[in-house]
């Protein structure tokens, strides 16, 4: 039987991207700013989230969506212990969150009452980069013990993000992390990327990060009320 070629030209993750863009429209319409935090396991995602909540408490209502590959609620429990709503997503072993999972998680959180939603993605430097989840800003946390060569090896995660936190800088004296080399790699992948060097332990650099984040939320609110 003769075969026939059918032209398709469709982005492979288009279905996911479409759900992500619906989510963003929904959140924008509800006046909630949202960020997606991506990093390796143990880079300090939960630590940064908890410190951020602490610094912004009384100023903003924050909700957290926690992604984990296993049915553990350790990270979500820590957030709730601070009096903020949190939803746990168990990806069932999958290495990343996708747009559908966020869509479902939003049914379990009163997002309309919030100013900011923080999503903690699954700890992984490869897979989360490919899946948009609909947040207004994408954040990567790199921690210095991971080594200064990460941008050279895991190129995708640094592309298309809006801000980079370099965490655990309190450990720099004990490591041979070449900050220049690291940042030179990031510059190739994402020229001019907004970057904050922070420590959850000493709180160094946190004021700048909190200032940036507050400004993003304010500008977002001004935009949607304009």
């Amino acid at each position: 039987m003769a075969t026939e070629k059918v032209q398709v030209v469709e982005k492979i993750l288009d279905a996911n991207d479409q759900v992500a863009s619906q989510t963003q429209t929904l959140l924008t319409g509800s006046g909630v700013f949202s960020i997606n935090i991506m990093a390796s396991p143990g880079a300090g995602k939960t630590s940064v989230i908890l410190k951020t909540i602490e610094k912004l408490s009384g100023k903003m209502r924050i909700g957290v969506i926690e992604g984990d590959t296993a049915p553990v609620t350790i990270d979500a429990d820590k957030v709730m212990a601070m009096g903020m709503p949190a939803v746990q997503i168990n990806t069932g072993g999958q290495c990343h969150l996708d747009a559908m999972m966020i869509d479902r998680a939003l049914k379990h959180i009163d997002y309309k009452a919030l100013d900011l939603i923080i999503v903690e993605n699954v700890g992984n430097l490869i897979c989360p980069a490919a899946f948009k989840i609909g947040t207004h800003a994408n954040v990567v946390i790199s921690s210095v013990p991971e080594g200064d060569d990460k941008p050279y090896k895991y190129t995708n995660i640094y592309r298309g993000i809006d801000v980079l936190l370099i965490n655990k800088i309190d450990l720099l004296p004990y490591l041979d992390f070449r900050m220049d080399y690291f940042q030179q790699g990031v510059e190739i992948l994402n020229p001019g990327l907004t970057t904050f060097k922070v420590s959850c332990k000493t709180e160094e650099g946190f004021d700048q990060w909190i200032h940036w984040l507050s400004q993003q939320v304010d500008e977002f609110k001004n935009r949607i009320h304009a």
Binding site: K5, V6, Q7, V8, E10, I12, Y152, T155, I188, L189
Partner: protein, 114 residues
């Protein structure tokens, strides 16, 4: 490993277009993937054989058109290919580079029988 999710999306797209074209069978799938995409072809093929069973795409063959990842050197104007990892300009050693291509990730076409 997000190849399963990616392969499921490929199946969804292929099935949709096969249906629109009144296909009785899909014989070939043509993907275009830049070398900066972190996808392992063999894993996609492995999942494809599993998940396409019983669908219009059963027994179809996936073809990978792999496009090079190219960087441009801002210092000496040299353009070069990288394997996936970032390397300095082989001509002048500079790291002042710009990504030109390698992030393509789409399903270009399918071949069908009616």
């Amino acid at each position: 490993m997000h190849e399963l999710a990616v392969t499921e999306s490929i199946l969804q797209i292929a099935e949709k277009h096969a249906h629109q074209a009144n296909a009785s069978k899909v014989t070939d799938i043509f993907l275009v993937i830049g070398n900066l995409s972190s996808i392992v072809d063999d894993s996609v093929v492995f999942y494809w054989e599993m998940i396409s069973k019983g669908t219009v795409c059963e027994d179809s063959v996936i073809h990978f058109n792999r496009l090079p990842a190219t960087l441009y050197c801002l210092v000496c104007d040299h353009t070069f290919e990288i394997p996936g990892e970032l390397i300095p300009c082989p001509n002048c050693g500079s790291y002042q580079l710009k990504i030109q291509s390698g992030e393509e990730f789409f399903l270009e076409s399918i071949e069908i029988e009616r």
